[in-house]
Every structure is written in C-alpha cells, then in structure tokens.
C-alpha cells in the first residue's frame, strides 16, 4: 500500500504497478504544483546486476481533470527507452558513474514527455536522462549530485525528473495485513483468542530502506487549472499494449496492439483497502469517471464494519453506524467528489457531483510552512495537506484510518459523536520513520538507499 501490489493482476507486473501519487502546491516555488507518480514497489536497494528500471513497453501517464467530469483534460505521457552500451559484459557499470554521460555506465534510460489535451498533443521533451540507480560508494560515489543533474528544466516553467527515489510512504504493512493489527493498540485486538499481544508496541515501517521509481513534474498552476476553478483532480495510470508474445528466437517479449490501462491510482488506499478482491483488476482498468460503479464500496466500507469486531468494545459508535447502514457521505466527499464549501470553514475542494476517485488539490490554498504543517493534513487543521492533494510526508494511513473509524462523519451528520479511540488511530509511524530524509526541493522524495549500505 498505498497501492503497492494492491490487485492480483498488477501484483505480477511491478514495472507497471503504481504505488503512490502526490499532488501539492510546491512549498519552495509558489505558483507551481508538483505532481509525483511512483512505480515499481518495494525495491531492494541491492537488486543488481539488473537494477530496477522503468518499462520501455509501458505508457506511464499523469492525468489532470480540471472540470470535474472524472476525465483527463491534460495528460502528461512518459515513454522510456533503455540503452545498453556494451552487451558483452554482465555489468550495469564498468567503473564509477560520475556523470550522466559517463562511459562507465552501461545500462541507462532516457525518456520522452508529451502533453496531451483534448485538442492538442505537444512533445515537451525528448531523450531526457534518468539517473542511475544508487549502487554504492564505488559505482555512484556522489549520488545526490549526480541525481540532481537529472532534474531537467523545460520550456513553460516546467521542471521534471524520472528515476529512483527513496520510498517516502511509511506504513506498517507487516502488522496491518496480519488481520488488521495496529501495534500501538494491539493489546486491544481480539487476537482470535490467541492472546499473542499483551502490550502496545511501536510501529515498524515496512518500506524503510526500500526504493521506488518516481516520475515527478512541477508545473505552473496556471497551466493546470481552468479560470476561476482552482481545484484539480489528479491520478496516474500505466498502460500496456494488448498483446505480448515471447519471441523465443530473440529471447524477448514483443508487443502489439493498442495500449490499455492496467494500473490506476488517485487517492491512497482506495483500491487497496476499499475495493474488494474480485473487483480490483477491473477497477485498475477503468477511468475515474466510471467510479460510480464502485461507490458502494466507499460509502459502505467493509473495513469500517470490521474495525469494531477486530477491536471489541473500542468502537461501539462506529459499530452502530455501520449496523444502521447509513451511507458514509463523508468518505464520498473526501474520496469521490471533494469536500464542498460549508462543511469545513474556509475550505473546499469540491469538483462537482461526478463520483471519481481523484486526488483533489485546491491550488489556491498556499503551501503551509514546514514548521506549521500537520502530518494529519486537513484533520490536523492544515488545509494544504491530504485530502487536499497529498504531500510526501502526510500520514495518509492515520488520516484514512481515522476517517474510516468515523472521525469525519460529523461533517455530514452533526448528531454523530465518534468513538474516542477513532481520533487516535495510527499504525505508530511518522515521517521520522523514513531513514532517508525528504528533500526540501524538487523532487522532494529522498535520495534512494544504496545497495552497498542497505540492508546493513
């Protein structure tokens, strides 16, 4: 999670597996918005000699809807090309890689970027260099500086980067997928009579010391929004051609036919946690505009109904709410329509009645200075954080756990009082659980962990 290996089909295709999407007003460049789409989950840093890379045969896209219909009005398309300088060595590099054109770097990637609108397709750039993966002190001796050279400035005030980054999404996968265990409260878990846990415990960041591949683009907000409509919806997709054949003569896959979507991600955890197993692959193949097909899984979430059973006696009001069968219009607003004006004083990111899972960002709300940010975003009184877009440091696990547990239901039903425990839910992690520091500037996600030092 938030969308790592979230559906059966895409879990077999990590190169096309989107893991996280971020969208936020750039804190260091007011007037611009940063969009980040991560792919290739849970990368072990030492995964050589064929280190992780984008798929040449995958069409990666970041979509922006600026009129609320759940369909893309602008799409940034990314196509990668892999170049092998010397096929007669097994090595990724034959010496230190000290520049992006180093002759020692044997296996590199470049990419083209295209902007597609409803009426035009514009090639923004060709043959942009990706950085190498972070291997170690001999192969990539000054990795931070090397990767910084792969940040490219494009015409129109656009900045772009594509390559390996440290995983910035922190989550206790090991506990959560062990039947909904939250270590800070595991002594309260029903434990199925096994009585394994007697005391609370600290969370464990399962993604620490792992890397992802990021596509990051920073764009003037004016390029993305419609006049007087500052809220945008953002999601990413990956597509493959319909036919793939193993060409045994050449020992490679060949592809044919039109591209079809195999992966989609807007809000974190929607497909992962809310969509049932038998629908996840279908969900991945559809645009947000079709999400009315899945709305029931969001307004009647199974996880919210399960929480009171997993933690007996802790969530009596949530149990009553679930039993009453009241549709969770609060979750519908947060995840499918945006939050209308009037629910939270001075805030809205409503895009209209179309039910569509998109990460909605009201670009007119300025970035919150780092010292004043709340990792709980809007729930923590910080309107520049999730679910108003998403910043890399936002604790989306805690925010969504709390929302599912009923914290946000009073927004739509003032007679409801959440359980006291709901506002305390967490898997016990914070941005400090991520060993690689986040960057204060583009592309914001930290320098990837090196294979030499991780695992240590």
């Amino acid at each position: 999670m938030s969308s790592h290996r979230e559906a059966p089909e895409i879990s077999t295709d990590p190169v096309a597996d989107s893991t996280d999407v971020y969208a936020f007003v750039s804190p260091d460049r007011p007037g611009t918005v940063t969009l980040i789409a991560n792919y290739i989950p849970l990368q072990g840093a030492a995964g050589g000699p064929n280190f992780y890379e984008f798929g040449d045969e995958v069409l990666y896209q970041i979509h922006v809807d600026n009129n609320g219909d759940g369909r893309a009005d602008l799409t940034f398309q990314f196509r990668f090309s892999t170049h092998t300088a010397n096929p007669d060595t097994f090595l990724y590099n034959t010496g230190p890689i000290e520049s992006l054109n180093s002759p020692n770097w044997n296996r590199r990637q470049t990419y083209d970027v295209t902007l597609a609108t409803n009426t035009h397709t514009t090639k923004l750039a060709k043959n942009l260099a990706c950085p190498p993966c972070n291997i170690g002190p001999l192969s990539t001796p000054d990795y931070g500086a090397l990767a910084a050279k792969a940040v490219h400035a494009l015409p129109g005030g656009i900045t772009i980067f594509a390559g390996q980054r440290a995983e910035g999404f922190y989550v206790d996968l090991g506990a959560i997928f062990d039947l909904g265990d939250l270590r800070p409260f595991e002594n309260l878990h029903a434990q199925y009579g096994l009585n394994v846990f007697q005391n609370p415990a600290a969370g464990v960041n399962a993604t620490n010391h792992l890397n992802v591949h990021s596509i990051a683009i920073q764009v003037p907000a004016s390029t993305l929004v419609r006049k007087n409509h500052p809220t945008i919806g953002v999601w990413t997709t990956a597509s493959r051609q319909k036919v793939r054949l193993w060409d045994d003569r050449n020992g490679e896959n060949v592809n044919s036919g039109p591209f079809r979507q195999v992966s989609r991600l807007g809000n974190p955890l929607v497909n992962e946690v809310l969509i049932p197993l038998g629908k996840k692959d279908r969900w991945n193949s559809l645009p947000p505009s079709d999400d009315k097909l899945f709305a029931g899984y969001i307004t009647q979430p199974g996880f919210a109904a399960a929480l009171p059973a997993l933690y007996p006696g802790v969530f009596p009001r949530l149990a009553a709410l679930a039993k009453a069968g009241k549709p969770r219009k609060d979750l519908e607003a947060i995840l499918l329509t945006g939050i209308p004006a009037g629910l939270i004083p001075g805030f809205e990111n409503f895009t209209g009645p179309v039910l569509a899972d998109m990460l909605r960002l009201n670009t007119s709300i300025p970035a919150t200075p780092s010292a004043k940010q709340s990792i709980y975003g809007l729930l923590g009184g910080d309107p520049a954080g999730f679910p108003n877009g998403r910043r890399p440091t936002d604790d989306v696990v805690a925010i969504e756990l709390r929302a599912l547990a009923g914290v946000t239901f009073p927004l739509v039903d003032k007679t409801f009082t959440p359980d006291a425990a709901a506002a305390k839910l967490t898997d016990g992690l914070t941005p400090a659980s991520v060993s690689a520091p986040y960057l204060g500037e583009f592309p914001y996600l930290g320098t990837p962990y090196s294979g030499f030092s991780n695992p240590s």
Binding site: V243, D247, V254, S256, G257, P258
Partner: protein, 99 residues
C-alpha cells in the same frame, strides 16, 4: 492516432505469413506443410510479398487472435492498432491449420 492498416482477408494472410513466428496465426501456419502451401498459394495469386506490409507491421508483429472460430470473430493487432473482423471462412481456415 496512428493510421490503421487496411486489412482485407488476403492482406491478412499476407501479413500473417510475413509476421513469421511472432504472429499467432503465422506461428501456427508454419507448423503444417499443408497450410504453408496454402499461404504460399495466396501470396503467389495476389502477387504480394512480405515487403508490402505496412510500416507498422514491419516494426512490430502482426498478431491474429481468433476469439471465436464458430462465429468468425477475429482480432488483428498491428503496431498500436486493433482491427476486428467477422469472417467464419477465414477463422475456419486458421483453426484448421492447427488441427
């Protein structure tokens, strides 16, 4: 959008032959001498050759997918295009080639 290759039944067989092992139908056709002979006859009769394939099919495989031989529902993939045909006779010939 890329231009769709123009596909008649004859050009489909030409493409299948030219695509060699990469095409589903072509791969199957190549396994039986009888069918290979039929394909060669078609090429000869039309004066066509693999060189007449479109640029799209030269760069990527032309793949024929018989979805339903009974109804003749056939999909042809070339480049980034997909064309749907309904030809029971052609589907039967392809199916016959692998039986």
């Amino acid at each position: 959008m890329p231009r769709k290759p123009s596909l008649s039944r004859r050009s489909l067989l030409r493409g299948a032959a030219g695509a060699g092992a990469a095409g589903l139908a072509a791969g199957a056709l190549g396994t039986t001498s009888n069918t290979a002979s039929n394909t060669a006859s078609t090429l000869e009769a039309t004066g066509a050759s693999a060189a007449t394939l479109t640029a799209a099919t030269e760069k990527t495989p032309l793949v024929v997918h018989v979805r339903d031989a009974r109804t003749g529902d056939i999909e042809v993939f070339a480049g980034t295009t997909q064309t749907r045909l309904r030809d029971r006779d052609l589907a039967a010939r392809i199916a016959g080639a692998i039986s």
